[in-house]
């Protein structure tokens, strides 16, 4: 079970992760983009943290939609609409629930991936955040089918996301700013795939009570 508290803690934990990785994400973006991904995410999650108190007593759907709206209206860039849509769609999938079963979490993750694919029109292999999310959602689904506990499922998901993120390194980008570089985008890890991996890893850490 993932409780409303778990969801709130996930958001808060990720805001700290973004702070700690601001420079790292920005540097990844400097190599193949415009050196702002960490800055963008930080600005977004600062706004999220400011708005979170207003919905802390609401249901999970309301909370996640609030996160999405905050990101959409403060981040800009590519990551704004993408992460915004991702959280908005998870919120819509969560509805007025106050806790989530393993199946519910799967629906949220699927909705997230569906949202970013619709918004950004990227497919796997384009060297985007889709490449962290696609194997992650697949891994979670398989684990659920397998009958794995949530804890184990999340561990497998995180590993899959990490692999997906690392897989982007050799690729030539086909979407986003990195695509303008053509061949020169190869041999760099995609920034958005990295922040997506960190988001999934954060869920695993918080929900498996390894950290808060």
């Amino acid at each position: 079970m993932v409780t409303k508290e778990d969801v709130l803690n996930w958001i808060k934990h990720y805001a700290d992760v973004v702070d700690a990785n601001e420079t790292y994400l920005t540097e990844l973006d400097a190599a193949i983009g415009d050196a702002d991904h960490g800055i963008n995410m930080q600005r977004g999650f600062k706004a999220v943290m400011a708005q979170l108190p207003s919905v802390e007593d609401k249901d999970i759907g309301t909370i996640l939609k609030k996160v999405g709206m905050a990101l959409v209206s403060t981040v800009g860039g590519a990551s704004g609409p993408l992460y915004g849509t991702l959280f908005l769609r998870m919120g819509m999938a969560a509805g007025n629930k106050n806790e989530l079963s393993e199946e519910d979490v799967l629906k949220l993750f699927q909705a997230a991936l569906e949202g970013i694919k619709q918004r950004g029109k990227a497919v796997p292999g384009d060297k985007t955040m889709v490449d962290a999310w696609t194997p992650a959602v697949e891994a979670f689904q398989k684990a659920v089918t397998n009958g794995d506990t949530l804890s184990v499922a999340l561990e497998k998901t995180t590993i899959a996301a990490e692999e997906g993120m690392k897989a982007t390194i050799p690729w030539v980008a086909r979407k986003g700013r990195a695509s303008y570089l053509g061949e020169r985008s190869a041999n760099h890890q995609d920034p958005g795939a990295t922040s997506s991996y960190l988001l999934i890893q954060s869920a695993e850490k918080v929900w498996n009570h390894k950290e808060v």
């Binding site: 702002d36 209206s73 915004g84 086909r174």
Partner: protein, 333 residues
């Protein structure tokens, strides 16, 4: 980092405050969400034109708001697309009942944020048309990729569509005209130095003391090729060749040419570059009907320049010549 700023995170807000003081006759500025709008918006019965994008490209786009050009501009953070709520509010503010045209540069961020805003405005019953500029020949075009970046031709689209909107052209025709300008325009840029995003605090990329970057974008995105510095004539030759063969431009074509500074290039150098460009065009029988030489679409303090050529028809030249009065471009009034 050496900049004339206070806190890096306040740059855009304080720039907008400067615009409020500087141009009350031309524009109003709305804060949170940020957008710059014509003082007399909405213009009843005429199409409103909204553009926007990351800040740091001044005078694009805010400097082009005024009579005969943009009706509103939405400045994002430096080199970061604006958010949908800015664009949505600006769209509402310029809607004079004849619909609104969104001029969007082809970057994932800009396209997605404008798309969300257009959906929101459409839900309110506002007729929104979008056109995307993608004139940068440095980027390989392909169906499976993001496609080319929108750069210098955006200035041309904003001027020509702005003139046409002022003349009362309806939305459908206006969108077609804007697309025609984009389709007939090609650009390429180069950099001698990097630029520094204020909140990043250090240069976006590093270039050796004897290196230049050909095919650079307007956000300090590294270009397609890094090479040793060459005399400007050779640089212009390379860039003009890439541009001219892409459309391709042909003998007899009439064009509007822009030699644009990236922000840190002295005007004297731009004229030296223009000289070579004019020689090349002359040699190929291509007639430069109009020109712009100066800083029109910049990348903060980057040293470097870009060339944009537009194969212009009579209608384009007519609306190019139409009076314009904005902080960044002014003639005929």
């Amino acid at each position: 980092m050496k900049k004339l700023i206070n806190k890096p995170e306040d740059v855009v807000k304080e720039e907008l405050e400067g615009i409020v003081f500087a141009h009350p006759d031309l524009v109003r500025v709305h804060f949170a969400p940020n957008y710059i709008v014509r003082a007399d918006a909405p213009v009843k019965g005429k199409v409103g034109i909204v553009s926007g994008g990351g800040s740091g490209h001044e005078p694009l786009h805010g400097g082009y708001v005024g009579i005969g050009m943009l009706h509103a501009a939405c400045p994002g953070e430096v080199f970061t697309s604006p958010t949908p709520d800015q664009i949505y509010d600006a769209t509402k503010a310029v809607n004079g009942g004849a619909g609104v045209l969104h001029i969007v540069k082809n970057y994932s961020g800009d396209v997605m944020n404008f798309e969300m805003a257009a959906e929101m405005a459409g839900a309110d019953g506002i007729e929104v048309a979008s056109m995307v500029t993608n004139d940068d020949v440095a980027v390989q075009d392909s169906l499976y990729t993001q496609g080319r970046r929108g750069v210098g031709v955006t200035v041309f689209v904003e001027k020509i569509a702005g003139g046409a909107a002022e003349a009362g052209m309806p939305l459908k025709e206006l969108t077609a005209l804007a697309n025609r300008v984009n389709e007939n325009g090609r650009s390429m840029g180069m950099a001698l130095t990097s630029c520094t995003v204020p909140v990043a605090g250090k240069p976006t990329f590093e270039l050796g003391d004897d290196e230049m970057e050909i095919g650079i974008g307007i956000h300090g995105e590294p270009g397609r090729e890094r090479m040793k510095i060459k005399p400007v004539d050779e640089v212009v030759d390379m860039m003009a060749d890439a541009i001219l063969t892409d459309l391709p431009f042909k003998s007899g074509d009439r064009i509007i040419a822009m030699v644009n500074g990236m922000g840190g290039t002295p005007l004297i150098e731009l004229y030296v570059a223009y000289r070579r460009l004019a020689q090349i065009c002359q040699g190929k029988g291509i007639k430069i009907e109009r020109n712009l030489i100066g800083n029109y679409i910049t990348s903060l303090e980057m040293a470097g320049f870009s060339i944009t050529l537009l194969r212009a028809d009579d209608e384009m030249i007519k609306y190019w010549d139409a009076p314009v009065h904005t902080p960044g471009l002014r003639w005929g009034m």
